[in-house]
Subunit: 185 residues, 2 copies
Amino acid sequence: MEKMRADARRNRAKVLAAAEEAFALDGLAVPLDDIARLAGVGAGTVYRHFPSKEALFQAVVLERIQQFAEEARALANAEEPGAVFFDYFVRVIRQASLNRAICDALAESSGHAFKAGAGDEFRAALAELLARAQAAGAVRPDIDGDDLRALIVGCLAVERYAPGSEHLLRVVVDGLRRIERVQTG
Amino acid sequence: MEKMRADARRNRAKVLAAAEEAFALDGLAVPLDDIARLAGVGAGTVYRHFPSKEALFQAVVLERIQQFAEEARALANAEEPGAVFFDYFVRVIRQASLNRAICDALAESSGHAFKAGAGDEFRAALAELLARAQAAGAVRPDIDGDDLRALIVGCLAVERYAPGSEHLLRVVVDGLRRIERVQTG
DNA sequence: GACAATACGGAGCGTGCGTTCCGGTTGTCA
DNA sequence: TGACAACCGGAACGCACGCTCCGTATTGTC
């Protein structure tokens, strides 16, 4: 991994950079040849460094997912669990909606970056944040971490269907708050 | 359309039935050859009756969308706009989540069955139902018909990601209600 | 019952994509 | 600097899919 030839290391970096850009724009749907061309490299070179397109995708996405997980862990002991939770929830969705790679990664429930360790870290950190917000009475108690991930995926679908409609995110956020309302017609 | 040969009419019906079944299961992703085989027919026969896979898909989906629109129109003058609206909202999502064809049709914002007349009918009827529920104070006023369609698409994404979690639909429904809540932590 | 007209089936075409293969090139190290 | 291993590019392969083409079969008519 480290005793690579200089040009190999250089090309690997170029491929990663190109993949990051291309995947961010079009998600997993981008053809691998496009990535190779964007990197100024042949398709074979991509496969020398990554065993498959999937693996390259994971390599690109893993970093971001880990960032999310770390961010969540850093907030685990914050003073106001409710506010912190909603801030985080919204931030994740906003970030992901700017990056189709992350959207695709989150939307693949069973496999990919989520089956690996980083996905579990994120999952755990998210559940922790949720649990604290629920314990503080800020979030309704009838959902769990898996439900929350599903809601994130749903919000990303909304954003893709109707780009730039932030107030729809507020609908979900309001729905997540502790139920404590007056009867309405 | 009516002066067809007997076998032609028979095959057309078989193709439609097969397409309905296959599209319902796997959405637009199902290969056309699979539909032909399921219908007991050659691929050429499918193309004799429908100019493209898209057209066949629309033919299958159109009926259902029209049903939805009609259903909404029938409820337009109901006594309790709020309850009627939420019932309808939930019913549409439940129906669609059992039928990937409808999911795919609703998720394609610009084209397909939605650009055609039936899509507009559905859109209009949905907006009408929403407006009445808002006028009755049952639904928050800061969303419109397009927002609602986006939310439906989002709910379908949630359902696909986490099948069978009905309570998540309730989160969105609660978020849609008129804002009238107590401050919470 | 025979003859057009119509419809059928499925092989085949074009395209796009993931992946592999290999002849040529480049970096490394003695 | 020479020689070998590592690496590179991109042509080519296999596959899947939408769609078309045409020899054959079926239907309606006289």
